[in-house]
Amino acid sequence: MAKQLYYEDIEIGTEIPPLAKVATTRMLVQWAGASGDFNPLHYDEEFAKSMGVGAPIVHGALKRAWLGQLMTDWIGEQGVLKRLSCQYRGMDYPRKMRTMVEPQDGETWWCKGKVVKKYEERGEYLVECQIWVENGKGEVTTPGTALVSLPSKAAHKS
Protein backbone atom coordinates (compact mmCIF):
# COMPACT_ATOMS: atom_id res chain seq x y z
CA MET A 1 0.00 0.00 0.00
CA ALA A 2 1.09 3.61 -0.50
CA LYS A 3 2.92 5.37 2.29
CA GLN A 4 0.79 7.21 4.83
CA LEU A 5 -0.35 10.71 3.86
CA TYR A 6 0.08 13.50 6.43
CA TYR A 7 -1.63 16.88 6.77
CA GLU A 8 1.70 18.58 6.07
CA ASP A 9 2.08 16.73 2.76
CA ILE A 10 -0.80 18.55 1.08
CA GLU A 11 -1.83 22.09 0.27
CA ILE A 12 -4.67 23.92 -1.49
CA GLY A 13 -4.72 22.68 -5.06
CA THR A 14 -3.00 19.36 -4.34
CA GLU A 15 -4.42 16.78 -6.70
CA ILE A 16 -5.59 13.42 -5.47
CA PRO A 17 -3.99 10.58 -7.48
CA PRO A 18 -6.62 9.75 -10.15
CA LEU A 19 -8.34 6.35 -10.05
CA ALA A 20 -9.32 4.65 -13.31
CA LYS A 21 -12.46 2.52 -13.46
CA VAL A 22 -14.11 0.60 -16.29
CA ALA A 23 -17.83 -0.03 -15.87
CA THR A 24 -18.97 -3.14 -17.67
CA THR A 25 -22.28 -4.95 -17.86
CA ARG A 26 -20.65 -7.69 -15.81
CA MET A 27 -19.53 -5.24 -13.11
CA LEU A 28 -23.05 -3.83 -12.89
CA VAL A 29 -24.45 -7.31 -12.31
CA GLN A 30 -21.83 -7.96 -9.64
CA TRP A 31 -22.59 -4.60 -8.04
CA ALA A 32 -26.34 -5.29 -8.03
CA GLY A 33 -25.73 -8.54 -6.18
CA ALA A 34 -23.28 -7.02 -3.71
CA SER A 35 -25.27 -3.88 -2.93
CA GLY A 36 -28.81 -5.24 -3.11
CA ASP A 37 -29.87 -2.70 -5.75
CA PHE A 38 -31.81 -4.79 -8.27
CA ASN A 39 -33.36 -1.88 -10.13
CA PRO A 40 -33.85 -3.06 -13.75
CA LEU A 41 -32.75 0.40 -14.90
CA HIS A 42 -29.25 -1.08 -14.73
CA TYR A 43 -29.67 -4.35 -16.67
CA ASP A 44 -32.96 -4.38 -18.60
CA GLU A 45 -32.79 -2.71 -22.03
CA GLU A 46 -36.54 -2.22 -22.39
CA PHE A 47 -37.07 -0.90 -18.88
CA ALA A 48 -34.18 1.53 -19.34
CA LYS A 49 -35.74 2.76 -22.60
CA SER A 50 -39.12 3.24 -20.87
CA MET A 51 -37.35 5.39 -18.29
CA GLY A 52 -36.06 7.59 -21.09
CA VAL A 53 -32.35 6.91 -20.54
CA GLY A 54 -31.87 4.92 -23.75
CA ALA A 55 -30.04 1.91 -22.37
CA PRO A 56 -29.05 0.45 -18.99
CA ILE A 57 -26.96 2.95 -16.99
CA VAL A 58 -24.27 2.65 -14.34
CA HIS A 59 -25.69 2.74 -10.79
CA GLY A 60 -25.11 6.11 -9.18
CA ALA A 61 -24.14 4.38 -5.98
CA LEU A 62 -21.41 2.44 -7.79
CA LYS A 63 -19.83 5.73 -8.89
CA ARG A 64 -20.18 6.92 -5.33
CA ALA A 65 -18.34 3.80 -4.17
CA TRP A 66 -15.56 4.55 -6.68
CA LEU A 67 -15.25 8.04 -5.21
CA GLY A 68 -15.11 6.45 -1.76
CA GLN A 69 -12.17 4.37 -2.94
CA LEU A 70 -10.50 7.45 -4.43
CA MET A 71 -10.51 8.99 -0.97
CA THR A 72 -9.65 5.95 1.17
CA ASP A 73 -6.76 4.98 -1.14
CA TRP A 74 -5.38 8.50 -0.77
CA ILE A 75 -5.76 9.06 2.98
CA GLY A 76 -4.30 5.70 4.03
CA GLU A 77 -5.13 3.73 7.14
CA GLN A 78 -4.43 6.60 9.54
CA GLY A 79 -6.71 8.97 7.65
CA VAL A 80 -10.43 9.11 8.40
CA LEU A 81 -13.17 9.86 5.89
CA LYS A 82 -15.69 12.11 7.63
CA ARG A 83 -18.00 13.20 4.85
CA LEU A 84 -18.62 12.06 1.31
CA SER A 85 -21.23 13.47 -1.01
CA CYS A 86 -21.96 13.27 -4.71
CA GLN A 87 -24.69 13.98 -7.23
CA TYR A 88 -25.55 11.81 -10.18
CA ARG A 89 -25.77 14.40 -12.89
CA GLY A 90 -24.85 12.54 -16.07
CA MET A 91 -25.76 9.09 -17.30
CA ASP A 92 -22.91 6.62 -17.73
CA TYR A 93 -23.23 3.57 -19.95
CA PRO A 94 -21.26 0.38 -19.22
CA ARG A 95 -19.03 -1.34 -21.76
CA LYS A 96 -20.43 -4.62 -23.01
CA MET A 97 -18.37 -7.80 -22.65
CA ARG A 98 -16.19 -9.30 -25.38
CA THR A 99 -15.34 -12.47 -23.43
CA MET A 100 -16.57 -13.79 -20.12
CA VAL A 101 -14.13 -11.54 -18.30
CA GLU A 102 -12.77 -8.99 -20.80
CA PRO A 103 -14.81 -5.94 -21.79
CA GLN A 104 -15.05 -4.60 -25.32
CA ASP A 105 -12.92 -1.57 -26.09
CA GLY A 106 -14.55 1.60 -24.91
CA GLU A 107 -14.34 4.42 -22.45
CA THR A 108 -12.46 4.51 -19.19
CA TRP A 109 -13.84 6.57 -16.32
CA TRP A 110 -11.55 8.62 -14.12
CA CYS A 111 -12.18 9.51 -10.49
CA LYS A 112 -10.34 12.70 -9.63
CA GLY A 113 -10.13 15.28 -6.90
CA LYS A 114 -8.28 18.22 -5.46
CA VAL A 115 -7.81 19.92 -2.12
CA VAL A 116 -9.86 23.10 -1.71
CA LYS A 117 -9.45 23.82 2.01
CA LYS A 118 -7.31 22.67 4.91
CA TYR A 119 -7.79 23.68 8.57
CA GLU A 120 -7.38 22.56 12.15
CA GLU A 121 -10.47 22.26 14.30
CA ARG A 122 -10.71 20.86 17.83
CA GLY A 123 -7.46 18.96 17.48
CA GLU A 124 -8.36 17.43 14.13
CA TYR A 125 -6.50 18.18 10.92
CA LEU A 126 -9.20 18.51 8.29
CA VAL A 127 -9.01 18.62 4.53
CA GLU A 128 -11.89 19.48 2.19
CA CYS A 129 -11.77 18.17 -1.35
CA GLN A 130 -13.70 18.63 -4.54
CA ILE A 131 -14.07 15.25 -6.23
CA TRP A 132 -15.68 13.95 -9.39
CA VAL A 133 -16.06 11.13 -11.89
CA GLU A 134 -15.28 11.96 -15.53
CA ASN A 135 -16.42 9.83 -18.41
CA GLY A 136 -14.30 8.87 -21.42
CA LYS A 137 -14.95 12.26 -23.04
CA GLY A 138 -13.70 14.11 -19.95
CA GLU A 139 -17.22 15.22 -18.99
CA VAL A 140 -18.01 15.33 -15.29
CA THR A 141 -20.96 13.02 -14.71
CA THR A 142 -20.69 12.76 -10.95
CA PRO A 143 -19.50 15.84 -9.00
CA GLY A 144 -18.96 15.62 -5.26
CA THR A 145 -17.13 16.69 -2.15
CA ALA A 146 -15.28 14.96 0.65
CA LEU A 147 -13.99 15.90 4.10
CA VAL A 148 -11.17 13.89 5.67
CA SER A 149 -9.03 14.13 8.75
CA LEU A 150 -5.36 13.31 8.36
CA PRO A 151 -2.64 12.49 10.86
CA SER A 152 -0.24 15.36 11.48
CA LYS A 153 3.53 15.10 11.79
CA ALA A 154 3.40 18.02 14.23
CA ALA A 155 1.11 16.11 16.55
CA HIS A 156 3.28 13.00 16.47
CA LYS A 157 6.22 14.17 18.50
CA SER A 158 7.98 11.18 20.03
Binding site: K21, G33, A65, R83, C86
Partner: protein, 157 residues
Protein backbone atom coordinates in the same frame (compact mmCIF):
# COMPACT_ATOMS: atom_id res chain seq x y z
CA UNK B 1 -51.78 28.77 -13.34
CA UNK B 2 -50.91 26.90 -16.54
CA UNK B 3 -49.53 23.82 -14.71
CA UNK B 4 -50.87 22.06 -11.65
CA UNK B 5 -48.43 21.47 -8.81
CA UNK B 6 -47.10 17.90 -8.45
CA UNK B 7 -47.19 18.28 -4.69
CA UNK B 8 -50.68 17.14 -3.68
CA UNK B 9 -51.95 17.68 -0.13
CA UNK B 10 -51.27 14.01 0.51
CA UNK B 11 -47.62 14.42 -0.53
CA UNK B 12 -47.33 17.59 1.51
CA UNK B 13 -48.43 15.63 4.59
CA UNK B 14 -45.61 13.12 4.10
CA UNK B 15 -42.95 15.69 4.89
CA UNK B 16 -41.59 14.84 8.32
CA UNK B 17 -42.85 11.26 8.13
CA UNK B 18 -40.55 8.79 9.86
CA UNK B 19 -40.07 5.20 8.80
CA UNK B 20 -40.02 2.11 10.94
CA UNK B 21 -36.44 1.07 11.70
CA UNK B 22 -34.62 -1.23 9.29
CA UNK B 23 -32.04 -3.55 10.84
CA UNK B 24 -28.83 -4.17 8.86
CA UNK B 25 -26.39 -6.95 9.62
CA UNK B 26 -22.79 -6.41 8.55
CA UNK B 27 -21.13 -9.65 7.55
CA UNK B 28 -17.57 -10.43 6.41
CA UNK B 29 -18.59 -12.11 3.15
CA UNK B 30 -20.87 -9.24 2.23
CA UNK B 31 -18.05 -6.72 2.76
CA UNK B 32 -15.69 -8.80 0.61
CA UNK B 33 -18.24 -9.18 -2.19
CA UNK B 34 -18.97 -5.43 -2.10
CA UNK B 35 -15.26 -4.59 -2.30
CA UNK B 36 -14.80 -7.04 -5.16
CA UNK B 37 -17.73 -5.53 -7.06
CA UNK B 38 -16.15 -2.05 -6.87
CA UNK B 39 -12.71 -3.42 -7.68
CA UNK B 40 -11.22 -2.19 -4.38
CA UNK B 41 -8.39 -4.44 -3.17
CA UNK B 42 -7.91 -2.59 0.15
CA UNK B 43 -6.95 -5.36 2.62
CA UNK B 44 -9.18 -3.77 5.30
CA UNK B 45 -12.14 -4.88 3.19
CA UNK B 46 -10.71 -8.18 1.94
CA UNK B 47 -8.05 -9.73 4.18
CA UNK B 48 -9.40 -11.16 7.46
CA UNK B 49 -5.98 -11.62 9.08
CA UNK B 50 -4.78 -8.16 8.07
CA UNK B 51 -7.98 -6.51 9.27
CA UNK B 52 -7.82 -8.35 12.61
CA UNK B 53 -4.34 -6.93 13.26
CA UNK B 54 -5.41 -3.40 12.26
CA UNK B 55 -6.73 -0.75 14.65
CA UNK B 56 -10.26 -1.79 13.67
CA UNK B 57 -9.77 -5.43 14.69
CA UNK B 58 -12.08 -6.65 11.91
CA UNK B 59 -13.06 -6.09 8.29
CA UNK B 60 -14.54 -2.61 7.96
CA UNK B 61 -17.20 -1.32 5.60
CA UNK B 62 -16.19 0.57 2.47
CA UNK B 63 -17.82 4.03 2.69
CA UNK B 64 -21.52 3.70 1.97
CA UNK B 65 -21.83 -0.01 2.65
CA UNK B 66 -24.16 -0.63 5.56
CA UNK B 67 -24.73 -4.39 5.40
CA UNK B 68 -27.81 -6.38 4.49
CA UNK B 69 -31.28 -5.77 5.80
CA UNK B 70 -32.44 -8.49 8.18
CA UNK B 71 -35.74 -6.81 8.94
CA UNK B 72 -37.17 -4.73 6.16
CA UNK B 73 -38.68 -1.40 7.03
CA UNK B 74 -39.05 1.51 4.68
CA UNK B 75 -36.13 1.48 2.29
CA UNK B 76 -35.67 3.88 -0.63
CA UNK B 77 -37.69 1.64 -2.95
CA UNK B 78 -40.62 1.44 -0.57
CA UNK B 79 -40.46 5.16 0.26
CA UNK B 80 -40.77 5.95 -3.43
CA UNK B 81 -43.70 3.50 -3.64
CA UNK B 82 -45.42 5.45 -0.84
CA UNK B 83 -44.75 8.73 -2.64
CA UNK B 84 -46.19 7.35 -5.87
CA UNK B 85 -49.27 6.15 -3.98
CA UNK B 86 -49.70 9.71 -2.72
CA UNK B 87 -49.64 11.00 -6.28
CA UNK B 88 -45.97 11.45 -7.15
CA UNK B 89 -44.80 10.61 -10.69
CA UNK B 90 -43.70 6.99 -10.89
CA UNK B 91 -40.27 6.98 -12.57
CA UNK B 92 -37.44 7.03 -10.03
CA UNK B 93 -33.83 8.13 -10.33
CA UNK B 94 -31.25 8.35 -7.57
CA UNK B 95 -30.16 11.99 -7.37
CA UNK B 96 -27.26 11.61 -5.00
CA UNK B 97 -26.30 11.30 -1.38
CA UNK B 98 -24.41 13.06 1.42
CA UNK B 99 -22.79 10.81 3.99
CA UNK B 100 -21.51 11.88 7.38
CA UNK B 101 -19.40 9.19 9.08
CA UNK B 102 -19.13 9.16 12.88
CA UNK B 103 -17.69 5.82 13.91
CA UNK B 104 -16.23 2.90 11.98
CA UNK B 105 -18.70 0.25 10.79
CA UNK B 106 -17.51 -3.29 10.30
CA UNK B 107 -18.12 -7.02 10.35
CA UNK B 108 -20.22 -8.10 13.30
CA UNK B 109 -22.16 -4.85 13.58
CA UNK B 110 -25.95 -4.68 13.69
CA UNK B 111 -27.13 -1.30 12.46
CA UNK B 112 -30.55 0.21 13.00
CA UNK B 113 -31.58 2.73 10.34
CA UNK B 114 -34.45 5.19 10.62
CA UNK B 115 -35.47 7.40 7.71
CA UNK B 116 -37.34 10.70 7.73
CA UNK B 117 -38.75 12.42 4.67
CA UNK B 118 -37.15 15.83 5.04
CA UNK B 119 -38.32 17.78 2.05
CA UNK B 120 -40.42 17.52 -1.12
CA UNK B 121 -39.97 20.14 -3.83
CA UNK B 122 -40.71 20.36 -7.53
CA UNK B 123 -38.95 21.82 -10.51
CA UNK B 124 -39.21 21.86 -14.27
CA UNK B 125 -36.20 19.98 -15.60
CA UNK B 126 -35.22 18.37 -18.91
CA UNK B 127 -37.16 15.33 -17.62
CA UNK B 128 -40.35 17.41 -17.42
CA UNK B 129 -42.23 18.12 -14.18
CA UNK B 130 -39.91 16.68 -11.57
CA UNK B 131 -40.29 15.97 -7.87
CA UNK B 132 -37.21 16.11 -5.64
CA UNK B 133 -37.51 14.30 -2.33
CA UNK B 134 -34.81 14.45 0.33
CA UNK B 135 -34.70 11.74 2.98
CA UNK B 136 -32.47 11.62 6.03
CA UNK B 137 -31.41 8.29 7.48
CA UNK B 138 -29.58 7.82 10.75
CA UNK B 139 -27.76 4.59 11.54
CA UNK B 140 -27.12 3.47 15.13
CA UNK B 141 -24.95 0.49 15.93
CA UNK B 142 -25.54 -2.26 18.50
CA UNK B 143 -24.10 0.00 21.24
CA UNK B 144 -26.64 2.67 20.44
CA UNK B 145 -23.94 4.89 18.95
CA UNK B 146 -24.57 7.05 15.91
CA UNK B 147 -22.33 5.73 13.14
CA UNK B 148 -23.69 7.24 9.95
CA UNK B 149 -26.08 9.88 8.64
CA UNK B 150 -27.20 9.75 5.02
CA UNK B 151 -29.10 12.47 3.19
CA UNK B 152 -30.49 11.06 -0.04
CA UNK B 153 -32.13 12.81 -2.99
CA UNK B 154 -34.79 10.89 -4.90
CA UNK B 155 -35.92 12.17 -8.28
CA UNK B 156 -39.43 11.23 -9.41
CA UNK B 157 -40.61 12.19 -12.88
Amino acid sequence: MARESLISDELQKMIGMRSEPVIFKVEEGAIQRYAEAIGDTNPLYNDLEYAKKSKYGRLICPPGFTGWPVRRGRTTESISALLVKAGAPSRLLDGGVEFEFFEPMGAGDMLVATTTIAQITEKQTRLGSTLFTTTETTYLNQNGNLVLKAKQTLILF
